[in-house]
């Protein structure tokens, strides 16, 4: 645990205007190179936590820094520069459906492209070569000209990973990246996220609800329940008793006694 801190979350709370407290005094630290899984039931605040880190959501209280720079007080160009450091992957992929796969990946470079050029989708040759390399990396190199909505879910998510990679991020925020996919395809997507973590040293924060995936890919995990951080530890620390405290006594776990 000697690596420098990548993301620090201090006393983070989010209260929606309708009074729902999505996050309640959450504090955690993520070191560079870690693969942190965030566990919890739907509605436990996982997604809100990830979206606060790149300020897609403004937190109500608390402070977040990524790589030592304060996100919570950043505005305008400063905020956009911080967002570029963090690639995001979504449960619903969120590709621009009517654009080609290549243009979707190129949109990862928007943060460093001039506004006028980007309005007409004029990206440099260097950007185009980089986009091709990102696509090759996720095994989609031959699908650059397809329309995004012509791809299967697993393929779309791989394109979304390529788009995040195009940002040249130091951090990946993955919000339930495989929850919408067929279970048989989940590992094919998770392996690409893992590769970015292992080979590029990109820090990953990934919300999951599948415990097998957590045990296989995460180096550390935290659990949220009703917006509160209720558990933190190595994947192997999450035994049956812990899981029941997170998911409730009625929960059943397919693998029986956690090993």
């Amino acid at each position: 645990m000697s690596a420098p801190v990548a993301v620090s979350v201090e006393k983070l709370s989010k209260v929606w205007p309708d009074g729902i407290r999505a996050l309640d005094d959450v504090s955690l630290e993520v070191r560079e190179g870690e693969f942190l899984a965030v566990l919890g039931l739907s509605g436990s605040g996982k997604s809100t936590l990830l979206r606060c880190i790149n300020r897609l959501i403004d937190p109500t209280e608390g402070k977040i820094t990524i790589f030592g720079r304060d996100v919570t007080s950043a505005e305008g160009a400063g905020l956009r520069a911080l967002r570029r450091e963090a690639g995001m992957i979504f449960q619903q992929f969120n590709l621009v459906k009517r654009h080609s796969v290549r243009d979707n990946v190129l949109s990862g470079a928007l943060g460093r492209t001039g506004t006028l050029r980007s309005l007409f989708l004029l990206f440099s040759d260097a950007d185009r070569a980089e986009a091709q390399a990102c696509l090759d990396r996720v095994g989609m190199g031959d699908r650059g000209d397809s329309r995004a909505d012509a791809l299967s879910g697993g393929q779309q998510q791989r394109v979304a990973i390529a788009r995040a990679l195009m940002q040249r991020p130091k951090l990946i925020l993955a919000d339930e990246p495989v929850a919408s996919l067929d279970p048989a395809l989940r590992n094919s997507v998770m392996r690409h996220v893992e590769a970015l973590n292992r080979e590029e040293g990109i820090t990953v924060i990934c919300s999951l609800h599948d415990l097998d995936l957590m045990k296989r890919y995460a180096t550390r995990a935290v659990a949220l329940r009703e917006g509160k951080l209720v558990h933190e530890g190595k994947p192997e620390d999450f035994d049956l008793a812990t899981l029941k405290s997170i998911y409730g006594q009625e929960a059943e776990f397919g693998f029986g006694e956690a090993s």
Binding site: G19, G43, R51, N54, L95, L110, S118
Partner: protein
Amino acid sequence: MRRVAPVPPSLPTRGLALSVDALLLATFLLMGEFLVRTLAFPVEEGALRTAQEILERLHYALLGGAGLLLAVLWHAAGRLLGGTPGLSFAGALPQSESEVPWDHTLRGWFTLLFVELTFFTGWLVTEVNLGTFFTNFDKAAGVIRGLLHPSGAVLFEGLILLIQTLFLAFMATAFAIPPAFLLAFAAARNLTRESPAAKLVYTALRTAMNLTRAVEPLVWALIFISWVGIGPFAGVLALWVHSVASLVKLYSEQIESIDRGPMDAIKATGAGTLQVLRYGVVPQVIPPFLSFTIYRWDINVRMSTIIGFVGGGGIGYILKPRVDLGEWGEVGTLVLLIAVAVWVMDLVSARIRERIV
């Protein structure tokens, strides 16, 4: 997530419900008096005269007071009589009550009676007369015979002006696209939530567009005829104003219904506002925008006929004098030309719109 307990309706909601109830009850009383007076004491000049008499001698404060009193009583006796129509309108009906079948509530029966009262009042106010409708057909026969025997005399002139009409409608639509496209983003609620200034622009723009749309194209035509003179260009401008206002509404509603996901994804790359709009919003709305625009052209063709009546160019311009002179054969020709054009436009635009979306 913890949810706070359901709260009783807020003061503004209660106020809204009470005002709606008072208005409904006062209107109910007024229509009741009108019906009784018209049926019991008919006057020579007809029902409108009775209505005028009632309104002239009416003590508005008294009527309003009576409506308000009844509304307050109903609200106070809510436990016994059930929720009021106003509460339902304000969306403040308790869950337990909105599940009761309508004919088990006073609210339901009151609404039924109110609609019936409106129908009978309307019958008198619009001077419905089934007698003349069924016996005086022969007076219209001449007109219909003329229309069914189109005269070839105006066919050529009519065809040329029909083509002008199609272009007139097209130009009005084309000129409307750029301003409507730009304004639509500022008139979309989901894009203007972030700052108070943007909210203000949203409200101002929506109000301005609603007011513009409320003014009939016919009135815009009169304005532009005195501005640029009689002719098709005045018609183009009149339809242009109306088209901008309509397209802003249609476009912005489309923007409001987009999937937020791609916007979030583009925002997360560190893109600026214009880039987020270009990549996260525009690709999603282009096909419906095209569809609305073609539909608008279609509507403009229909409207330009009427615009022509007052001097806005197109085929309506030569139709008006022939109607006035009773040249029914020539009117028949022109009407037929318009009907065919509208029918073809309708078919073609529906087909294209199907292909796009």
